[in-house]
């Protein structure tokens, strides 16, 4: 009984940790969607690129761990900006379908660019804790808390908190919110909408990159890692209610936990199917998601 309890505790912990990574990627989705009504299918690739940058700078160029992270994040800023200029901007007045396909085109480019540069063999990344001389994790009440998972959770919580403070208490945050709510009105009020959108893309790219760096020690880093991550994060955003920040977080965490229980109790090989099954059920029962509001067309 106690063993069962600690196993479940273990599953909840692991699920929450993975779920918070989904939540971070999902937040990137939501930010871009709210600002531009664009669903960015290359969001997962941001994570993949972030992870590869870390691998290249830290393990390849032997930089200091934190310098490598800082430099990788700087590169992510560039990626986000480049993405906004080349993929979003030319298509900003088109319907969602061409934009989706263009972001998919970008994701093909990113994946195969990474393949060409880094090769197809998976890279292993050392856990963060080893950089300060620690190893493994800590066992509390029969549950083993892997430090990497703890770090992921801590960073996710911190980021969500910072994001909240940024959007609620800074002028720039307010401007970005205004842009996402009503671009025309924001423009009339003298907010440089183009810059705000560029900033949103940069921020999403940063979020994605950071999430990639966080999961890198858990998964192997491959050019394919972003695809699944991106799809699941997209599933999380829809579960939570599209375009809702709370929804992205709750949806991401929920999918993580469901997945970890599903693979332990039902089937490990179909692990990836659970998120999508849950999503189908949610869409059929409550298409607007957990936090979403129902919208109907006006005649």
């Amino acid at each position: 009984m106690a063993e069962n309890l600690s196993m479940n505790g273990q599953l909840v912990f692991a699920g929450l940790a993975i779920g918070s990574v989904y939540a971070l990627v999902a937040l990137g989705f939501v930010m871009i969607f709210r600002a531009t009504n664009v669903v960015n299918f290359a969001q997962g690739e941001f994570s993949m690129l972030g992870a590869y940058f870390l691998v290249a700078l830290w393990q390849g160029l032997k930089l200091d761990y934190f310098a490598a992270i800082a430099l990788a994040l700087l590169l992510m800023v560039g990626i986000g900006l480049l993405f906004e200029i080349t993929v979003y901007y030319p298509l900003r007045n088109r319907t969602f379908l061409p934009v989706i396909i263009a972001t998919i085109g970008a994701s093909i480019m990113f994946q195969n660019g990474a393949l060409a540069i880094f090769g197809s063999s998976p890279e292993k990344v050392r856990p963060v804790i080893e950089t300060v001389g620690g190893t493994g994790g800590v066992t509390v009440a029969g549950v083993f808390f892997d430090y990497q998972y703890l770090i992921i959770l801590a960073v996710a919580v911190m980021l969500v908190g910072l994001q909240y403070l940024f959007f609620e208490y800074t002028l720039l945050g307010k401007k970005m919110q205004a842009t996402s709510q009503d671009k025309d009105m924001a423009r009339l009020l003298g907010i440089p909408v183009v810059y705000m959108i560029a900033l949103t893309f940069i921020y999403s790219s940063l979020l994605g990159g950071l999430s990639g760096m966080l999961v890198a020690p858990i998964f192997f880093v491959t050019h394919k890692m972003g695809a699944t991550l991106g799809l699941k994060a997209f599933a999380a955003t829809i579960c939570g209610g599209f375009g809702d920040v709370r929804g992205a977080i709750v949806g991401g965490l929920a999918l993580g936990v469901i997945e970890s229980f599903g693979s332990a109790y039902i089937s490990a090989v179909y692990k990836d199917a659970f998120s999508f099954l849950v999503l189908i059920v949610i869409l059929l029962v409550r298409p607007q998601g957990i936090f979403g509001e129902k919208v109907s067309e006006k005649a």
Binding site: M109, F110, G113, A273, F276, L279
Partner: protein
């Protein structure tokens, strides 16, 4: 005489164009396999044909019906696995196996279509992605059934009149299949079904209000698209003789979508162009070794950015240069509207209520409309007029109350059912099928009254002539000026020869000349026997066409009677001048 001769000539030239196109296609089918000499390139030709058939499925669901699907590779896979498992593990005849696969795909497509009826945009995209991902997981992990990641080899070629034992012969077979499917998809575009699909793509609400059972058509589109996807898959499996789950994963679903968009979603030719380009492009870029897929992704972005309508858009521009101006034949019969007993109660509404949450938008409003009259529904902004029209036509389900139309209770029925029983409507904000021609818009409306194609066309011709749009029949609605668009909406509504016509602000946005013309048309329709309920703000327009009126304010009926009576009614005067107490009758 001269006119009809021109009409005849234009019909003849169109027929000639079609025969020529079909012949050209047949020649290509015959010649192409001879031009590809290596085994490798002929295999690519087969792959292109198979992918082309799958992409044609997307033309139906995405191009015609406007529903995004990122699951085409799953249906392609269903067909491929049916052919593979059927001819190897189960040892059944190829044709039987293929039929099994098509049936399985049709069932799966029908279920997916039914499940996603209420979803659009991103949600639909995501649900189809889920379906696709789950299919791949099953194909990879259910090893006992599918052979797992190793796939299935030794798949058989179909038994045919001549043995298809060389890649060249099979290429002919594959191209012939593509040719037939392309012909089918081309033909479908201008059938009632194809037009209904395109009407849904352009404006689902208007399609429903014109009597199209939109859920049914959407499910048909999904099913048909799934069947074509599966057919492509069987052609592929029997061509390559080996399949594995990798060929049916999410990447390939994206590839299908990219093929459709790069080629142009709305045309069979676009699908074929897109499928050929994206099948051969990686081969042409093969020399670039590692980065060829990077370039490939880049090409997709460039095409999407610079060719909004895909490659087909360019072909179309070219075609327009050679196209002759087409003319509509004169109508052979007059419009026949309102054929029942005069002055019977055609519409009988009792205690109609509509609540939106706490707001009572329509509060126990009765209405009786007799055959042959024009009844106005007036009131200040926000008084519930449009809501009332939406309740009558079924776009909103009433909270309570009954609506009897032609003796039948229609409250709470689907809009398409109500439309089919003889009620047509227009919309306050134009709801045309913008990318369709005037002729196609009116044809969709004419379908409501049923009957065969000749009868439908007869009604459409009569309605177009009535509205004075004959010379604009082949123009795309989007390109017409606002006043003409309003007329198209009227023509579309009356083409179904309804018993009752609901007009929601037909005069809004029209200039004085156009309003005169509208008044003339409405009067003529009324003389022909059509009953009309009109919502309108322009009182001079109302008083010149309508005899009786009901006045609403804050969702309640405050007056009814003849136009002169209600306009003098104190409550009405107060309502328009803005004394709330008097208006509410407090």
């Amino acid at each position: 005489m001269n006119h009809s001769a021109t009409v005849h000539a234009s019909a003849w030239s169109r027929l000639r164009f079609r025969v020529l196109a079909l012949a050209l296609g047949a020649v290509l089918v015959a010649v192409l396999p001879l031009l590809f000499t290596t085994r490798y390139s002929t295999n690519l030709l087969i792959l292109g044909a198979a992918m082309g058939i799958g992409t044609l499925g997307l033309v139906v669901v995405l191009g015609y019906a406007g529903q995004i699907s990122l699951a085409q590779a799953a249906f392609y896979g269903i067909g491929a696995y049916a052919a593979a498992l059927g001819t190897t593990h189960w040892g059944i005849n190829w044709w039987v196996a293929v039929v099994l696969g098509l049936v399985a795909a049709a069932v799966a497509g029908g279920i997916l279509g039914t499940a996603t009826l209420k979803l659009g945009g991103h949600y639909l995209a995501m649900t189809t992605i889920c379906f696709q991902v789950i299919f791949t997981l099953i194909a990879t992990n259910w090893i006992a059934f599918t052979g797992g990641p190793d796939g299935i080899s030794n798949i058989k070629r179909p038994p045919f009149f001549i043995p298809l034992n060389s890649v060249q012969r099979y290429a002919w077979f594959a191209l012939a299949a593509l040719y037939l499917v392309a012909g089918l998809v081309w033909w479908l575009r201008d059938t009632d079904l194809g037009r209904a699909m395109r009407a849904i793509r352009e404006n689902e609400l208007a399609a429903e209000a014109l009597g199209i059972n939109t859920p049914r058509i959407k499910v048909i589109a999904f099913t048909l698209s799934a069947v074509l996807g599966a057919l492509g898959g069987t052609i592929y499996a029997s061509g390559y003789l080996y399949i594995s789950p990798d060929s049916f994963n999410f990447d390939h679903a994206v590839l299908f979508l990219a093929m459709a968009l790069v080629g142009g979603t709305e045309s069979f030719l676009g699908a074929i162009l897109g499928a050929s380009l994206l099948t051969f492009l990686p081969e042409w870029l093969r020399d670039l070794k590692k980065i060829y897929l990077v370039i490939y992704g880049c090409v997709i972005i460039l095409v999407i950015v610079f060719m909004p309508e895909g490659l087909w858009g360019y072909v179309k521009l070219l075609g327009r240069r050679f196209a002759r101006r087409r003319l509509l034949p004169p109508a052979e019969r007059p419009l026949q509207v309102g054929r029942g007993v005069a002055s019977e109660e055609i519409l009988y509404v009792v205690g109609l209520v509509k609540r939106f949450g706490g707001l009572v938008a329509v509060d126990k409003v009765d209405l009786v409309v007799r055959r042959g009259e024009i009844h106005a529904l007036i009131g200040p902004n926000g008084s519930g007029k449009t809501t009332y029209i939406n309740l009558l036509s079924g776009l909103y389900a009433p909270t309570s109350g009954s609506i009897r139309f032609l003796g039948k209770d229609v409250a709470g029925l689907r809009p398409s059912r109500i439309a089919s029983s003889g009620m047509a409507r227009s919309f306050q904000n134009l709801r045309l099928f913008r990318e369709l021609t005037v002729w196609e818009n009116v044809l969709v409306g004419a379908k409501r009254a049923g009957g065969n194609e000749t009868e439908t066309k007869g009604r459409a011709l009569a309605a177009i002539e009535f509205a004075g749009l004959s010379d604009k029949a082949y123009e795309i609605c989007r390109s017409l000026p606002y006043g003409h668009q309003k007329l198209v909406e009227l023509a579309r509504a009356i083409a179904g020869e309804p018993e009752l016509l609901l007009l929601d602000e037909p005069g809004a946005g029209l200039n004085q000349t156009e309003k005169q013309e509208l008044i003339r048309l409405l009067r003529r329709l009324n003389e022909m026997g059509l009953t009309i309920v009109i919502v309108e703000h322009d009182m001079s327009l109302v008083s010149r066409v309508a005899a009786t009126a009901t006045v609403l304010n804050f969702g309640k009926k405050i007056a009814e009677g003849t136009i002169d009576e209600v306009l003098r009614h104190p409550a009405v005067v107060e309502a328009y001048l803005g004394n709330r107490e008097v208006a509410l009758g407090v």
